[in-house]
Symmetry: C2
Subunit: 435 residues, 2 copies
């Protein structure tokens, strides 16, 4: 939990740095709101039992609820972040960092703006977060739905097969091209020559030079949609260069992203390094992803009024698994509490004094603990500090009472000093701010 | 949301000050785990639709999941806090601050300890949080299930009616004694003379002197359970006095708390002040509550092994409603973002420079925004700062480019100074740390 909190802190402070306000939506949505938004994944939605009232489902992600919120409140513009739980009916395979309940961290920019500026900011945010978390080298694959769809059309894929072929291509990170080709041809009845034409393109990735190549490609450059996508991609790379992050990007024609609602730029970040020992390779799939979805808000608006949106989602659960696995390898220990001072006594019948003392510390904002025993042994009090990583001990006994002092002990060095009772809080605060 | 976050910050930092670690449990529990834990409230639980797999329900509170967690992991000791959503099938009456989905903030101490020490700490925590939130005067009503049950027995309530009569008494904060008496006699078939005997006691509240009185009471002092409860109450008040919070407490025989699982001390904090205008009285019910539940963990353990627990729950939704209402009255405005600097230009064709500049600020950890337009008007950039409360503007134009400087403008005072480009980040950081 402590590691989780640190990761979330990094993510949230980055979202705030980019001017987003926090938004929270309910865990359940009307069942009808979620249908037909997720393509093949719709069967993973949890429904609530009909106990009277509306039919409800648990949210599957934070994007659809955000779009619903914008439409309902007739908002045309918003930059928000949302950290919350989502639920998916998968059999949990914990090794891969996928659960049935998990936390999502989303940042989205809604509104009609000049092209690619918010899109570039989303990619900058992913870079800042992944760098900030010190996960090692990463790469962000970028593509555009218009380029994919245009390429399908140019290669001769029938339009009613676009989404199905998209799903197949999406598996290229787990399957070889031959297997994907086999699926497209046999399961999805795509003509083999069409599959081969697609294969030529989707095995290519690169940067600005690839964009230029494709702009020259006789088959693709006929298609208006592709041209739009490629021109925007060029502009995006210009902005990414100004942001100093173009070297982290790969324009990758194989990136498809299964979700139905994307309409423009899409992206996905993957880690590139194996774990530090070099033995276990951590192929954890994507750690962040997102894209542009200009049509989703309109689906919730009775008049179909569109609000263009672009956003990203940080895969904190996967990141958490990775960090945890690394910590196991390096045998790092983490404190689970933040207690700064322990109030102890070596003698019997000092409960009252300990209670008075600890209340003083709490009132001064100092994080303090004591054992809930009338007469604890000094040794068990020392052990408690060592086991939970508390650095300072405040000791009160008969001798101290008589002298009007309190002993302050450093757990690590075992040094003890006597401090006047009335100076204790100030002295502790000084030590804590020094350390 | 900003107000919410501040309230949650105060609550969580208090929980940490008392040495609790954070714990998180899933939103759903096995349906069977939640049955027979909540008395009359069980019908408010949300069940999930049977889509194969286990029958699941959404959690109703955080206490039962905590007890289930302790039992499952065979933990005998734990001090944890949990901030999370819970769900109840109520028709939402937003004025009272009750919703179908709401956030709960719980702190609990599990383990076998010397009597009343953890219980006193829970009350101290409630005091620290309510004082910290500056909600005005508050009072914490304290009672003990053993005293209630013993009083029922001594007054002649049949044992199978204990819980039902408890529920009736729990309504005394919303209904008059006469109405409660009527409910007990007619709906719950309690003998009128028994009801009157109860009435004598539950209309009394006070401090240590009331405890002494009851210890002398000929009818009550026969009952072993009551004596135990009263002795512990005396001890509790001793510790509360040492903590300096006894004046906030009222030993109140009418406090019953409906939930089935309490076995010892119970408490509930109520605010005492009307809103500052004096016109609308804010009777918001309890803002914090809790108690001891020594039997709950054992219900989840196959061998029935008990782990004594005591805890508290902060009613953050109600507190949020109160703070919001007060802010409405006093017409306070809250910023919804934390943006520190706005990057502006008075001229056309400066998008590239703005992008480079804002990336520099972000990389230095400065919270910065700009408009997502190629050529925004200076006036709309100024308005954006005023509307969102951004204090500093960084302005770049042709003149500045030539001189190798950037203009830094204070939005409030309208003062502008030119700063060398290479000193900009340092200068902004200095200003931000000064303010």
């Amino acid at each position: 939990m402590v590691v989780r909190e640190k990761i979330l802190d990094t993510v949230i402070s980055c979202f705030k740095r980019h001017g987003a306000k926090r938004l929270d939506t309910p865990a359940f949505e009307l069942k009808e709101m979620l249908t037909e938004k997720y393509g093949e994944d719709s069967m993973l939605i949890y429904d609530l039992k009909d106990q009277g009232g509306e039919l409800l489902s648990l949210r599957y992600d934070l994007t659809v609820p955000f779009a619903r919120y914008l439409a309902m409140n007739k908002l045309k513009k918003m930059k928000r972040y949302h950290v919350g739980k989502v639920w998916r009916r998968e059999s949990p395979t914990i090794v891969q960092g996928r659960y049935r309940e998990f936390c999502q961290c989303d940042f989205d920019i809604a509104g009609q703006f000049d092209p690619m500026i918010p899109d570039a900011e989303c990619l900058k945010i992913i870079c800042e977060i992944l760098s900030g978390l010190q996960l090692g080298h990463f790469l962000i694959k970028v593509n555009d739905r218009r380029i994919i769809d245009g390429m399908f059309a140019a290669c001769g894929v029938p339009e009613n097969k676009f989404r199905a072929i998209c799903s197949s291509i999406d598996k290229l990170d787990k399957m070889s091209w031959n297997d994907v080709r086999y699926e497209m041809v046999t399961k999805k009845s795509l003509a083999p020559e069409v599959a081969d034409r697609i294969g030529e393109y989707i095995q290519r990735c690169g940067g600005v030079s690839l964009i230029e190549q494709l702009l020259q490609d006789p088959r693709l450059s006929q298609n208006k949609q592709i041209l739009e996508g490629l021109e925007d991609m060029k502009l995006l790379f210009e902005y990414l260069t100004l942001f100093g992050i173009a070297d982290k990007m790969s324009f990758d024609l194989s990136l498809a992203r299964g979700l139905d609602y994307y309409t423009g730029v899409i992206y996905e970040a993957v880690l590139q390094t194996p774990s530090q020992t070099g033995e276990e390779s951590l192929s954890m799939g994507s750690v962040a992803a997102g894209g542009r979805y200009d049509g989703l808000v309109g689906m919730f608006n009775p008049k179909g009024q569109k609000v263009p949106c672009v956003g990203l989602s940080i895969g904190v659960e996967r990141i958490f698994s990775i960090v945890e696995q690394r910590m196991k390898v390096s045998d790092e220990k983490v404190r689970t509490t933040e207690t700064q001072v322990f109030v102890a006594t070596p003698q019997k019948n000092f409960l009252q004094e300990r209670l008075k003392l600890i209340a003083e510390l709490w009132n001064a904002g100092i994080k303090a603990e004591m054992l809930y025993k009338n007469n604890p042994k000094l040794l068990s009090q020392l052990h408690y500090c060592e086991n939970t990583g508390i650095q300072l001990m405040v000791i009160i006994g008969e001798q101290e009472m008589k002298g009007g002092v309190i002993k302050l002990r450093s757990v690590a060095s075992r040094e003890e000093v006597a401090i006047k009772r009335e100076h204790l809080v100030a002295e502790i605060q000084k030590r804590l701010s020094d350390s």
